[in-house]
C-alpha cells in the first residue's frame, strides 16, 4: 500500500504511584501506527500500568501524552477511545460481563457509546455484527453463549474481537496469547498483521513468550522496575539479550531438568470419564518422582482432565488409585484430604482471593500446617512460610500483607502456584501454571516442581506450551478431543511429533 502519513504516539515522563509502590518513574514511550511494538519486562515491571495510563484507566499519573506532537488529555477510558486507543486487558474476566452473551460482550462499546439517540436495540443486527467480527478472527463460537460459560481461551478471543469491532488507531494487547495455544495464536497474529499493515493500526504487544516477539514485532521497549530500559528496533537482538535487559542479569534460556530417580507407580487413573464426556476413557499413571505432561490444543480437554481427577468436575465412571488405594473423590475437599493438589488455570476466578493479603492466600490450602490446638492459628509460622515462598518465587510485593488485587498479573499467578507448593500433597496437578509468568520466575517454578519430584512426589503438568512440557516432563500424554491419543517419552520426542498427535493425527 502507498506510503501514507504515519501517526506517532508519544508518552513523556510518565510517573504514577500507588500507596507504598512507585509503579512508574519518568517513563518515555513511543509507537507509530502501522507497526507492531513489543513491550516486555519482568513481572511487576510496570507494563500493564503504563498501558492502563495510555488507555485512560488512571487519572492520577503525571507526565504528558502526544499524538503527532499535539498534546492530548487522557484521563478516562472514554478519552482514550475517542482518540482511537483501545486495550485488551490482561485479566480477561474483569473485562467481560459474565451474564451477557458473546455478541453483547463483543458489541459492548457500541451498545454503550454509539447508541446516540436510539432507545431500542436491534438484536439481530448486534448478533450479525458480532458474527462478522468473529469470522474475521476465524473463530467458531455461538454468539448466544453466555460469557460465564466460556473457557479462558474463548474469553480471550471475545475480548480481542471486542477490540477489533471498531476502527482503531492504536490497539494494546496485554498478554493476549497467555491462554492460547499455537493454533489460536497464529490466527491472532494474522489479524494483528492485517490491522497493522493494511489498516495502519499501531499495535502494542505484551508477552512473556519471547519467540512470539521475534515472530511479529518490529520494535521493542524493555522495562524494568517501573523504568524504561531501552527502546529500539527488534532487528539484531536475540532472546538472550532481551532476557538480560529485562532481568538485569544473564540467564540460560535452556532450563536444566533436575536429575531425579524415578520409582514405582504411585498414582493411577483407569478408564476415567467425566459426566458429560468432557474427557473420556482416560488412562494415565504417574510414578514417584515423575513429572508427566498433558499436551494438547486449547479445547482438547486438558483442564477438564485435571479438574475431573481433582473432583472439581463430576465423574461418570472410572477408577483413581493412589498408592494402590482406591480413592472416592467426590469433591476437591476429599481430593485434598487424599493427597492431591491442583493449581487451576483461571487464577482470578479459581486461584486467588484478590481482596485478601498475599500471606493468607499462600496459606489457604495448607492452613492445617499452621494451626495448633483447637484449630488456633500460628500467625508467626504462617507468615514465615509465606515470606519464604515470596522469596522462592520472587513474588514482587512490598510485603506479605499487600492485597493480591494490587499485584501484577504474573505475580498473582505466582501466588496461585505458591499456595499449592506450600501444601503437602502426594500428587501435584498443574494446569498452565506459568501463564503470564516471566522467564526468570518460570525457571523458579520449574525448580520448585523439580524439588517436589526429588522428594518422590508425582506431578501432572498440563500446558499448551510445548517448550515447557519438553523442558520439564519425563513422559507426555497427548490429548485430542477429550481423549488421550498418544503416550510419548519426553527424551524421544519433539514439538512436531506432539503437534502431529494433538491435531488428531495418528
Amino acid at each position: 500500500m502507498g506510503q501514507q502519513k504515519r501517526t506517532k504516539l508519544e508518552m513523556k515522563n510518565i510517573s504514577i504511584e500507588f500507596p507504598g509502590v512507585k509503579a512508574l518513574s519518568n517513563v518515555d514511550f513511543e509507537v507509530e501506527s502501522g507497526r507492531i511494538h513489543a513491550l516486555v519486562g519482568a513481572n511487576g515491571a510496570g507494563k500493564s500500568t503504563l498501558m492502563k495510563v495510555l488507555s485512560g484507566a488512571y487519572d492520577h499519573y503525571t507526565g504528558s501524552i502526544f499524538i503527532n506532537d499535539k498534546e492530548v488529555n487522557i484521563r478516562t477510558p472514554r478519552d482514550a477511545k475517542e482518540l482511537g486507543i483501545d486495550i485488551v486487558y490482561q485479566e480477561v474476566d474483569v473485562a467481560l460481563i459474565p451474564y451477557l452473551d458473546v455478541a453483547e460482550n463483543i458489541m459492548l462499546d457500541i451498545l454503550v457509546n454509539k447508541m446516540k439517540g436510539k432507545q431500542f436495540v436491534n438484536w439481530r443486527e448486534v448478533h450479525a455484527s458480532a458474527r462478522r467480527v468473529l469470522d474475521r478472527l476465524g473463530i467458531k463460537l455461538d454468539t448466544r453463549k453466555l460469557a460465564q460459560d466460556l473457557t479462558l481461551a474463548e474469553k480471550q478471543m471475545v475480548l480481542i474481537a471486542r477490540a477489533i469491532a471498531e476502527e482503531r488507531r492504536f490497539l494494546i494487547l496485554d498478554e493476549p496469547t497467555a491462554p492460547l495455544s499455537n493454533k489460536e495464536t497464529k490466527e491472532l497474529f494474522r489479524i494483528v498483521r492485517d490491522l497493522a499493515y493494511n489498516q495502519d493500526v499501531g499495535v502494542i504487544f505484551i508477552s512473556h513468550r519471547l519467540p512470539e516477539l521475534f515472530e511479529i514485532c518490529e520494535d521493542i521497549t524493555v522495562m524494568k522496575d517501573g523504568q524504561l530500559v531501552t527502546r529500539r528496533k527488534m532487528e539484531g537482538l536475540d532472546g538472550k539479550q532481551i532476557v538480560e535487559l529485562m532481568l538485569g542479569k544473564k540467564m540460560d534460556e535452556e532450563y536444566l531438568k533436575h536429575n531425579v530417580e524415578i520409582g514405582e507407580t504411585i498414582f493411577e487413573v483407569k478408564n476415567l470419564s467425566e459426566k458429560d464426556d468432557a474427557v473420556k476413557d482416560i488412562n494415565i499413571h504417574v510414578r514417584s518422582g515423575e513429572i508427566i505432561g498433558i499436551a494438547g490444543l486449547v479445547g482438547a480437554g486438558k483442564t477438564e482432565l485435571c479438574k475431573t481427577i481433582f473432583g472439581a468436575l463430576p465423574i461418570k465412571s472410572g477408577k483413581i488409585k493412589l498408592h494402590n488405594n482406591l480413592l472416592n473423590i467426590k469433591n476437591p475437599h476429599i481430593a485434598v484430604q487424599q493427597g492431591l493438589a491442583l493449581v487451576p488455570e483461571e487464577r482470578r476466578k479459581e486461584g486467588v482471593l484478590v481482596e485478601e493479603p498475599v500471606y493468607s492466600n499462600l496459606s489457604a490450602a495448607s492452613l492445617s500446617n499452621f494451626t495448633g490446638s483447637l484449630s488456633f492459628l500460628k500467625p508467626h509460622k504462617e507468615r514465615v512460610a509465606a515470606v519464604k515462598m515470596i522469596g522462592d518465587l520472587g513474588i514482587k510485593t512490598p510485603n506479605e500483607n499487600q492485597k493480591v488485587a494490587f499485584l501484577s498479573g504474573g505475580n498473582q499467578q505466582k501466588v496461585a502456584v505458591g499456595k499449592w507448593l506450600m501444601a503437602d500433597a502426594e500428587i501435584y496437578i498443574f494446569d498452565e501454571p506459568t501463564k503470564g509468568v516471566d522467564v526468570g520466575a518460570k525457571s523458579d517454578i520449574f525448580d520448585l516442581i523439580g524439588h517436589l519430584a526429588g522428594l518422590g512426589k508425582g506431578s501432572i503438568y498440563a500446558s499448551s506450551e510445548l517448550s515447557e512440557i519438553l523442558a520439564i516432563t519425563d513422559r507426555i500424554y497427548v490429548m485430542y478431543d477429550g481423549e488421550i491419543v498418544k503416550e510419548l517419552l519426553t527424551s524421544e520426542t519433539n514439538e512436531e511429533e506432539i503437534l502431529y498427535y494433538s491435531t488428531g493425527g495418528n
Binding site: H333, E356, N401, K419
Partner: protein, 332 residues
C-alpha cells in the same frame, strides 16, 4: 503495616488522611457525638448513663454478631429478628406454661431456634436460593411460627395456656439476671471477644473469610465450602437465639414480633463495622463499635427530647453517612 507505608510516604497525605477517616471514622464519630451530647447535657457522660447505653445495645450487638458471621461467607441473614422473637416465645412458654428449669428451658429454646439456621442453610446451600430471598422467606415463616405458637398473643406470668389451662410457672430469678446490668453487658462483651478470636485466630474463622472472598477458589483449595456456609447460618441463628433469650429476660414476657425491631440496627451495626480499623470485611469488634455508635446516638437524641417518631430520620441518616465513608473510599 499500612500506617507505616503512609508515614514513610510524604506525598500521600491526602490519600492517607482519607484512609484514616475511613478506618477510624466510626470511632471519631462516636467521640464527637459523646462530646456534643455532653456539652449539651452534662449528665450524658455520667457513668450511669454510659452503662445504660451499653445495656441498651447488648441485645442488638449479640444479634448483629450472628449477622456478621453470615456476612463473612458473603451471605446476609435477614431472619435474625424472627429467630429472636421465636426464641423469646419458646423460652417464656417453657417457664410459664411448663414450669421447666432455667437451664433446660434455655438450652431447649436455643436448640429449637437453630432449626431456623438449618432451614436457611438448606435453602441457600442445597436448593441454591440467593441468601437474601431465602432468609426473607424464613423471616416471614418463623415470624408466623412464633405467632402461631403463642396463639397470636403474648405470654407472661399468670396467663393461661392456649387451651385455657391455668399456669403457675414463673420466670426464675436466675433468669432475670441475664437481662440486667452488668450481666447482660458481660454476656455481650464475652460474645464479641469469643467471636473475634474465633474469626481471626482459628482456622475455621479464616476458612469462613476465604469462602466469602472467592467461593470457587475456596472450593478448589479443598475447603469444604458447603459445610462452612451451613455452619455460618447455624451460628447466625445461634446468636439471634441468644439475643432472643436476653430479650425474654429483659422484658420478662413473650411479645409479638419482639425481635423484629432488632433487624435494622443489627444490619446497621454490622455494616458500619465493616470499615473499622481498615479491615474492609465483617468483623466482631467493628460490629460492636457500630452498635455503640447507634446506641450513643439514640440515647443522646432521646435525652435531648427528640420525639421517638423522629429518631429514625437521624438514625437512618447516620447509617447512610457511615456507609458512605466505607463505600466511597472503597470506590477509589
Amino acid at each position: 503495616m499500612n500506617e507505616k507505608l503512609e508515614k514513610t510516604n510524604g506525598q500521600f497525605n491526602m490519600a492517607g488522611f482519607l484512609s484514616f477517616i475511613n478506618k477510624w471514622g466510626t470511632v471519631i464519630a462516636i467521640f464527637l457525638l459523646v462530646l456534643f451530647f455532653t456539652l449539651a447535657m452534662p449528665s450524658f457522660s455520667s457513668p450511669s448513663n454510659l452503662l445504660t447505653i451499653l445495656r441498651s445495645i447488648s441485645i442488638v450487638t449479640v444479634i448483629a454478631i450472628g449477622l456478621t458471621i453470615s456476612l463473612t461467607v458473603n451471605g446476609l441473614d435477614l431472619s435474625i429478628g424472627s429467630t429472636a422473637t421465636f426464641t423469646d416465645s419458646l423460652v417464656v412458654s417453657m417457664f410459664v406454661w411448663y414450669s421447666m428449669s432455667t437451664v433446660t428451658s434455655i438450652v431447649a429454646a436455643v436448640a429449637i431456634a437453630l432449626i431456623v439456621g438449618a432451614v436457611n442453610a438448606f435453602l441457600i446451600v442445597k436448593v441454591k436460593i440467593p441468601d437474601l430471598l431465602a432468609t426473607l422467606s424464613t423471616m416471614f415463616i418463623f415470624e408466623g411460627v412464633a405467632m402461631t405458637y403463642t396463639g397470636g398473643g403474648s405470654i407472661s406470668e399468670g396467663m393461661p395456656r392456649l387451651d385455657g389451662t391455668p399456669t403457675e410457672g414463673v420466670l426464675p430469678p436466675t433468669f432475670d439476671f441475664i437481662g440486667k446490668a452488668p450481666y447482660i453487658i458481660i454476656i455481650m462483651l464475652l460474645v464479641v471477644a469469643v467471636v473475634h478470636i474465633f474469626l481471626n485466630h482459628t482456622k475455621h474463622g479464616r476458612y469462613l473469610y476465604v469462602v466469602g472472598g472467592n467461593i470457587e477458589a475456596a472450593r478448589l483449595s479443598g475447603i469444604a465450602v458447603d459445610r462452612y456456609r451451613t455452619f455460618a447460618y447455624i451460628l447466625s441463628a445461634f446468636f439471634a437465639a441468644l439475643g432472643g433469650i436476653m430479650l425474654a429476660s429483659r422484658i420478662g414476657s413473650a411479645q409479638i414480633n419482639a425481635g423484629a425491631g432488632y433487624l435494622m440496627p443489627a444490619v446497621a451495626a454490622a455494616f458500619i463495622g465493616l470499615s473499622f480499623g481498615g479491615k474492609g470485611k465483617p468483623n466482631a469488634i467493628g460490629t460492636f463499635v457500630g452498635a455503640v455508635l447507634v446506641g450513643v446516638l439514640e440515647n443522646g437524641l432521646v435525652m435531648m427530647s427528640v420525639p421517638y417518631y423522629s429518631l429514625n430520620i437521624v438514625k437512618g441518616a447516620v447509617l447512610a453517612l457511615a456507609l458512605a465513608s466505607t463505600y466511597y473510599y472503597k470506590k477509589n
